[in-house]
Amino acid sequence: MSQNKNTALLDFVTRLGDNSLIAGHRLSEWSSNGPFLEEDIGMINIALDFIGQSRILLTYAGVVEGKERTEDDFAYFRNHEEFKNALLLEQPNGDFAVSTAKQFYYSVFNFLLYSELQKSKDETLAGFAAKALKEVTYHLRHSSEWVLRLGDGTEESKMRMQKGIDDLWMYTGDLFATTEGDLLLQKEGIIPDVAALKSKWLEMIADVFKRATLTMPDVNAFQQKGSREKKHTEYLSYIVGEMQSIARVYPGAKW
């Protein structure tokens, strides 16, 4: 594999691994804070799926890089400037409606991405995507049901759900941002055209919002980008700091 392609693949795999890691860690903050016991358990189950996915991806990133870095080296010993996750996923949890909105936006994205990525010519990515697709399809069903329930619920729940989808809207465009390296991988049939997933994504969320009697945000509104240029919101450094504190204070600690 050419040097450029290898660098591009490392970047792409790390990006997906960081997406899962930050999404999972953020969601785990709901542990013992859920609105009721079953949903508390539900969110932690989803967080666990994300952490599992990130372990596979970051382990693979280490293989692609070829410098013997482990999944833990990637997760715990990179500085926050090196994280490549989408801006949406580092945003604070807010109330349950905000977390539901985030989960819904991300689930639809994952569902579309992994449906395509399972056809990858890269065997590891294809196997991973086929596996993860089953999990994210389940997440999508769960988060869609909550958007419907809160949107088409009481005045209060509808107001909060609408606020959740509106407040996070400006961070959704960044999910679809691509790099020059991506083009290289696309040509080789290793990854799908991520930017091209957006039209289907818009269609799917618009359908659920309509059924939930919610107002679809303005598709032409300003979108904050930055994760591909290593520019993040202020929240990333805090979540990475918290996540890494034990591993850094006690290097080699096992738990």
């Binding site: 372990r55 294809a126 993860a132 069903r141």
Partner: protein, 172 residues
């Protein structure tokens, strides 16, 4: 020729013996099922210098997978095998379709409603699940409490007749 033949016969017998041992390793979270019942064991390869057992995770984040690997190693070690390595494979993707009917019956008796349909049925992931029978009283008058349950592979249901909550093994 005779010698080669003997060696192959011996090899096959050994292979069957290894599978017999694996049939006694139970899933730490569902102790009525073995790792073979669950379809977690994908391959066993014997090499001159040891045995490689390939396993596949039920869920990517399943915390039991490492323990399952350790249990397999120790079961084989107890029977005198050495140099056992565990390899994790992701393809083909694990599915509840690999759980045998016999194993499903064991689940039911244990109090967990088994996955009710094939994943080839689109309803398994999206849309309404089929009727899930209460594992206690067999009533079909049941409803889901939560998509998620005590472990990654289960959802929480309740029976509207006997009023007992129960775990349902999710179809994936």
């Amino acid at each position: 020729m005779e010698k080669v033949h003997q060696s192959i016969t011996h090899h096959l017998a050994d292979h069957a013996a290894i599978w017999e041992i694996l049939r006694e390793v139970v899933d730490p979270e569902i102790p009525v099922l073995t790792v073979v019942d669950m379809g977690i064991i994908r391959d066993v390869v014997q090499r001159e210098n040891g045995i490689e057992v390939s396993i596949t995770p039920t869920y990517t984040g399943c915390p039991a997978m490492e323990m399952i690997g350790e249990e397999i190693k120790s079961a084989l070690t107890r029977k005198g095998y050495s140099n056992i390595t565990i390899k994790t494979v992701l393809a083909p993707t694990w599915t509840t379709d690999w759980i045998s009917d016999e194993a499903k019956e064991k689940l039911r008796q244990y109090g967990i409603a088994p996955p009710e349909h094939s994943t080839a049925d689109k309803n398994s992931l999206l849309g309404k699940p089929k009727i899930v029978k209460c594992p206690q009283c067999k009533s079909e008058h049941t409803e889901m409490i939560s998509h998620f349950g005590s472990t990654a592979c289960k959802a929480l249901w309740k029976c509207l007749d006997c009023k007992e909550p129960f775990d349902y093994f999710k179809c994936i």
